[in-house]
Amino acid sequence: MEILKLIDLKVRFSTEYGIVRAADTVNLEIGKNETLGLIGETGCGKTVLGLSILRLLPENTTVEGKILYQGVDLLTLGEDEMRQIRGKEIATIFQNPLTSMNPALTIGTQISEPFVLHQGFKKKDAMQKVIEMLKQVRMPSPSERVKSYPHELSGGMRQRAMIAMGLACTPPLIIADEPTKGLDVTIQAQVVELIKELTTKSGTSMLLITHDLGVAAELCDNIAVMYSGEIVEYANIKEFFKNPGHPYTQGFLDSLPSRGLKPMNGMSPSLIDLPEGCKFYPRCPSAMDICKSNRPEMVEIAKRHLVRCFLYV
């Protein structure tokens, strides 16, 4: 059975400028031990989708649909039950470890929180667990580092600490939101290696949110491409790079430096004022008349390779 299944998930914010449709009828699933990469440009709703799973969005948000975690719909749970899910069942690795760590608390204190909250450890024993955890993420001299404050660590060490915090309770599912953002390329490689190793060892599933295709290629089994709140393509990682189906994905791949650095035309649309038919229509090099007013459905163009485009209908 899949560990996480999103069914017709819609996330909307009501703002004074209008309704922001950050996620529109998203259907996704992540199996056991699977790493699903969610890629897309800045502002396409990736992070919001991740936060909506943990129900961490602000109060002006409406979330519709179903978020089935091991068969339980998270949207029906109470706040207390939800708190038991967060950190214990589904953990998060945030994108910016400097701002996502509390500057006034030592990293030991922060990493020990899940042990104290979810596994009932006493503070002292929890520290012991933290040191073990830091050893696992290969933090240098872990027993001294637990007493350090976040600003005393280098970027790579901070991200290691973040990963330790996320993996503390060996959660079945991790949502990693751009875990390599803002790190040097060499450190990025180390962090990617580390994540790969730890998730494989503990059999953790992961939703990896990123716009770095290199990181995605390294870590993911399957890829979902998000554009303006919609999933426009879903494929196995090999199929994805070999045979990209959606014009957006093709453009996305062509914009990579290794493939000629060809920028895509236009900007992604505002999530308040979305085009009527296909949301990629205004920028699409192979747009047709039908795209203007009709919303394409997902079409299976190969085995487990789905594309939301009229080119394949």
Partner: protein, 295 residues
């Protein structure tokens, strides 16, 4: 090499850095020294006071300073120095109690108001506004007057008036801290709101509170002395600086030492706390200056 790195890192520790900057602040160190001496004499009052502070010795009334009574005697023949030393413990106790209570109440309410927002915030902050609409010392005077003269009622009155400024400053800081990513991070770990407030947000808003509490000590000691001077605080024969001033008032011309020394004691104590508070403020964060002054 490793040791050097560790040392460099440790020297960047915020608490140590504050201490280092505080040590360079000369006035703050003078203040701290005076406060230390005060605390010392307050704790050891029964042993270092040359005479009994309460025992009357009528044949020796209104003596000027001499070897047996270093600061002279009052109109009932009691040793002024001994009374001042014992009075230090009274004043410090009032200061610590009132500042402690007001800081705890004010910080908690400010945290709740800032973090929860909405109706709770409105209710707490409007009561702060109402209390701040009265001149503090007059409100304390009324409360102490209604409750009747005693040291405890003075503390109560000062506590009722005093918590508001803590609540205001803390709420303001909480409003900005709660938008930080690490609060969301804590929520993503499954930390409850109450725990986030007191464990994750509170340490980030403590800097101005520490400064306010130190400056608050000076304010409270002065206010308590004022209320005692007006007869609402410590009752005779208890040695209290404010009431000593009041008692000495009638003999200002014939025996000025009865008013000069308690007055000096109050002044020096208040100054010491103000010096330390100023130094702490500069050491903790130079930008705090505006924040604390705004209250």
């Amino acid at each position: 090499m490793h040791d050097i790195v560790i040392k460099i890192i440790e020297s960047r520790r915020p608490s140590l850095e504050v201490l280092k900057r505080l040590k360079k602040h000369r006035l703050a160190m003078i203040g701290a020294a005076i406060i230390l001496a005060l605390v010392f004499s307050a704790v050891l009052a029964p042993f270092i006071a040359p005479n009994d502070p309460i025992e009357q010795n009528l044949p020796y009334r209104l003596l000027t300073p001499n070897t047996e009574y270093p600061l002279g005697t009052d109109n009932l023949g009691r040793c002024v120095l001994s009374r001042l030393i014992h009075g230090a413990s009274v004043s410090l106790q009032i200061g610590i109690m009132v500042v402690g209570i007001t800081a705890i109440i004010g910080v908690s309410l400010g945290l709740i108001a800032g973090y929860q927002g909405g109706l709770i915030d409105e209710m707490i902050m409007r009561s702060v506004d109402i209390l701040l609409a009265f001149p503090g010392i007059i409100l304390a005077l009324v409360i102490a007057g209604i409750l009747g003269p005693s040291l405890y009622n003075v503390m109560l009155a000062l506590a009722v008036v005093g918590w508001t400024s803590y609540a205001r400053v803390v709420r303001g800081s909480v409003l900005s801290v709660k938008e930080k990513e690490f609060v969301e991070g804590a929520r993503a770990l499954g930390v409850s709101d109450l725990r986030i407030m007191f464990r994750h947000v509170l340490p980030n808003v403590m800097a101005p509170v520490i400064v306010m509490a130190t400056l608050g000590m000076a304010h409270v000691i002065l206010a308590a002395a004022a209320l005692s001077f007006l007869g609402l605080g410590a009752q005779p024969p208890a040695p209290e600086w404010g009431s000593m001033l009041n008692a000495g008032r009638a003999f200002m011309r014939t025996a000025p030492h009865l008013t000069v020394f308690p007055g000096l004691a109050i002044m020096v104590t208040v100054l010491a706390f103000n010096f330390l508070g100023d130094g702490l403020r500069d050491a903790l964060d130079p930008r705090l200056r505006e924040k604390v002054l705004e209250r």
